[in-house]
Symmetry: C3
Subunit: 488 residues, 3 copies
């Protein structure tokens, strides 16, 4: 007999009655607030084209490397999971092209996800979005597949309908420097025509043009030249081209940039022109790139001061750790691995140059939790420019978010944090992720109430700030609007 | 309508009924024990001169960089906070000289401190010391200012009266190597005359004479020459001068020394005379200083073995991270940032030389919590000389102290820790800080009782040891006295 | 009046009623499962010879460096504890040869262990094994000594009787590469003869032959030559000798190897023959050894792929930190100290070479908890070959095991962990250690139930997996048998 799938109304709250009582009251205030999603990886084509989702596997499994990394770790290979071999040495084929067979494999291993955030998100999506009431398992796989597939055929399950139903106030994508943003343009046309009101915004992510020692760098520069119409023969040209693209992104609604580095080193390079010329000659070394990246981040901060785009910095992920998987299946297959990250010394040049400037805003994300209390909270609790991004990636989880609050709040407070962002490419998981985050903030605040550190009234104000006002303020969505009571 | 300010009798205890019940019983035993404050930064002039505190802002805000760092992080500049521009490039002026205006700014932003230890300390001080019964806010600011100011005019609020009311058994200050300790002399005269009985002790902190590459080093050496009456032309002279000053401090009641380093490297330098001579010629490099500091710590440990002064070592704070703030406003403006700290290898030379010697006592403090369980607890749980200082600075907080106990107790036990010290320059916060620490130790011990690891009787004995006996033992206050029952 | 020694049936569970209720139900299922002990340090002679234990001190104190390290840290020297001076500069004598005097010293300091796992294990052993009902103290020491001594005289307290009473399904020892395994042979003979059924297995630990710069290396190589019958004049000979020994260990029942390194660096050394020849000439440097160790781990992994022995890797312990203690008393005196450990980059060569191979199994252990969530859980949650060993050594404790689950489960799940192993040389502590681990897993799972993340039914299945099935699967004990329901 299949086990039931239920969503307990108090799920994820601390079971202590005093904490739970307070958490419930705090969560009640935030549960129905609009979703602000200032950082994520949803494909804008989805919302521009508004096609029905094909079938359950393509919707729920294929875009979610959290899922297939776990299955892979237990000996289920990527071919069986229908992952196309799109790596540089892959043949482009998909070994298992039967989505129902992949779905069965997934359901038969649902127990692997016990205790993980994937399980929490999936339970929510299956239950609330698709009306599923039994736990996925080998036995229930086919019936669930049919049930989800049937729903997907309904127009109410098209992307824009879901966007509206999810209560998304704004959704940001992540886009390369040379991207033409045509899907965003299409959406903006529909916005202007009044055919759809959803706010979807691009985010400027120029990582590829920063990595001067990468084999693809020249191609990326050519794309940047094409997009900006600026011939790039020098670092000065490069800067102009970037300024041009930032202006374009801003005109298309962007309010932020995003930068991913392994080491968040910052600092002007005295010889930046020479570095750039070496790169144009395909002679840049790994050390050259490191110096260039440090300089590039300074330049981006300088531009942020000028154009007001919020700068996001994600550090500490060593990409494509598993060479064989990368070669065959390509990027984003769950094989990116975190490394230790040093912030105090690395950010000092950037913060000394721009960290006291009220025009500058930097949102920092780390995979190295040992830096929460040791480095990031002290920095965020002093420098006006820096706010802490939420618990990121592997730490976007119950315990991960609790650790984030436990280790940052006492030094940085709540108001130097940026609220939640979902950072997801799994569109249907967005409400589940925000709901989980709101519940965890509610239970953390409930603990403060139960320990008599703050009153319930204060905790409710902070809860609303974390769920809604702080991401809007961190990403400057609220600047042209009236201030919110919870921030007063 | 203003929100009430209340102090719940069970505040900071875990809300679980079994833990709370035990915590209450443990705390009952410790709440009224005398305060032992073996490490802090109160200005001894305060207690030597015993002048009334001027007004609320000068008493509560201006000496507390925890407060203005948070306000600064939210865009309120130091000028608005009335911080004098006393940095090397400052003009010495105070832009906002109206303490009531600063007070209003602080009260209007009281919500920023929710969840921080500053909030817990302030609530206690305002409520218990000044009788405040409403939360600070823009609306209540003026009334609170007047209320606190009125109290301060009362002789019962002079420093010595507060010292006595706080139940301070002994209070240590922190004093430079060349300090003449005249305020301590004045207090000792009053002690001898029987006009005041308060025990205030100096602590020998020779950091400035250790930093041989610092521009001020020569001036510091000259001050040391003047204070010791020893002309310093060689490292041997330097050692004699230090021994002279330690003897003087000890004669003036000191029982400890204090040393702050970024990296706790230790080890005899083979070429120490050459390093010292280079320093005298203003030619010492950063590497020279690093080697000299490592040697200096060995020398200090060697002297501690001989004169019995307890050696304190604080590591891992990178001072004055924000250059612009330092240049304009000077030291201690909330811009010191922690860095990773390695203890296992760095302390090995010192511990191998002195760590087995029963005459030696080293109290270690870290800002890198990842070393609690990995390095410091294993070291403290083996070497007889080393005890763990309490959760320090950013970690002197509810969660911070819980993490300290969670990560050190299982390997080092309770009896290799030094109890609490408040490390504060905010005199009026001393009882609040000790009360918070006692409550957290009580709730941690209550957890052990509720999990049936120790009996309530044992937990109460340990609670008293942590609050009173262990700091006395760690700092050798108890050596001439009878042993305490809780240590038996 | 002596304090009672009791074992509460709910000990170590979270006191929250909802968690405790679930924890109890989960623990009920696991409490009586057989003990699988795939990694430990019990002397096989104990079980081969089955002599009565001599007396309480030799049984409970002398083999347990957790105990005497704590006593030493509080100023009780090793001579007083009767530790023989067996270090390279020791005289081989035992200063205090009176075991009862040592026992008294231990009992008088029992309070030092409050809050440590040693206390939890000792309480269990004294209570359940020896029927003790009062807490050890100076007053109770003699009576307890007599009580334990009396029990030990009973045949029911001989090693094999205890092994059977403990419900040990299999116990692994740790044995040098050149060991003749004669005690294992003796046990196997008894197994074959039907005189005793206990399963005791060797584990291949070739660390000594890997450390090419160590003064003893040549002697170790000679022992390896003697054991394998292969003259070792080149690296190729060395490899053949190791393969020979692995085959012997496997034939004697081994199912795993074990490797301890300070830094888990891996990677083929291009010049391995040259390194080996330098070592044979006694010219290997520390750098040579580091490169050789990295290569050696690759070679061991390669052999594991071929012979199916599970590879265990323990990293991050700096042995014999206290030189004076080592010189006088020798190895394993509680002076091994952890250091930071980097896994992501260090393991990459090994994982890229073998981590995707279904024939390979690597169990990794760390003393650097900051790597649980940052490095090890992401790696274990992706690579099929790697599973996480349990919280190790200083972290084999209540809080330590909770941190392990809190930081690994959300990314790696439960099924990429290896269950518990006791890693002990204290034979009588084995049931206490497994019981504690099962209780902590039960309370962690109870928390998931109380937070409505999993049902109680799921949690019970996971509990059984952690206690029994997962160690069997990780160490490949179950391969020839039917799969267990809890893993389905």
């Amino acid at each position: 007999m299949p086990e039931p799938l239920t969503l307990h109304p108090d799920r994820f709250f601390d079971p202590d009655p005093a904490i739970r009582r307070a958490a419930r009251a705090i969560y009640e205030d935030t549960a129905t607030l609009p979703i602000v999603s200032p950082h994520g990886h949803v494909d804008p084509a989805l919302l521009a084209e508004n096609q029905p989702f094909p079938e359950p596997t393509a919707l729920l499994l294929t875009p979610d490397h959290y899922l297939f990394r776990m299955l892979y770790s237990q000996g289920i290979d990527f071919d069986a999971l229908g992952i196309p071999r799109q790596g540089p040495e892959g043949d482009g084929q998909q070994a298992n092209a039967d989505p129902r067979a992949v779905w069965r494999l997934f359901c038969a291993h649902y127990h692997l996800f016990a205790g993980t955030p994937s399980r929490a998100w999936l339970d929510y999506e299956l239950h609330d979005l698709f009306g599923v009431r039994v736990l996925p398992s080998a036995e229930t796989a086919d019936a669930l597949y049919d049930q989800v597939a049937e729903r997907l055929a309904d127009d109410a399950f098209r992307p824009r309908a879901l966007f509206d139903r999810f209560g998304i106030e704004v959704l940001c994508t992540t886009d390369a420097a040379a991207d033409d943003l045509r899907h965003h343009a299409a959406i903006r046309e529909d916005n202007a025509a009044g055919t759809w009101g959803g706010a979807v915004r691009p985010c400027f992510r120029p990582d590829a043009v920063m990595r001067i020692a990468h084999p693809n760098w020249r191609a990326e520069i050519e794309a940047l030249e094409a997009a900006s119409g600026i011939a790039i023969g020098s670092y000065a040209d490069f800067v102009r081209a970037l300024e041009d693209r930032r202006a374009f992104f801003k005109a298309m609604g962007a309010f932020a940039t995003d930068h991913a580095v392994v080491v968040p080193r910052t600092g002007w390079a005295a010889n930046v022109e020479a570095l750039f010329v070496r790169a144009l000659r395909d002679e840049a070394t790994a050390d050259d790139q490191a110096a260039f990246e440090a300089h590039f981040l300074m330049e981006m901060a300088r531009m942020s001061v000028e154009d007001g785009l919020v700068m996001q910095l994600h550090a500490g992920s060593l990409r494509d750790h598993n060479r064989a998987v990368y070669d065959r299946y390509g990027l984003d297959k769950g094989a990116d691995m975190p490394v230790t990250t040093e912030w105090t010394r690395n950010l000092q040049p950037l913060l000394n140059a721009f960290g006291n400037d009220p025009r500058f805003r930097l949102v920092a994300f780390t995979l190295d939790e040992s830096t929460y209390a040791r480095e990031l909270a002290p920095i965020a609790g002093h420098y006006p420019a820096l706010v802490l991004g939420p618990a990121w990636w592997f730490h976007d989880s119950i315990e991960g978010m609790l650790r984030f609050r436990e280790r940052t709040t006492e030094t940085a407070g709540f108001y130097n944090t940026a609220g939640f962002n979902d950072d997801t490419r799994a569109f249907c998981s967005i409400p589940a992720r925000h709901d989980l985050a709101r519940r965890i903030d509610a239970t953390y605040l409930g603990r403060l109430v139960a320990r008599h550190q703050v009153s319930l009234g204060e905790a409710r104000r902070i809860g609303r700030a974390l769920a809604y006002d702080l991401p809007r303020r961190a990403y400057r969505l609220a600047e042209a609007e009236a201030p919110f009571s919870s921030l007063a």
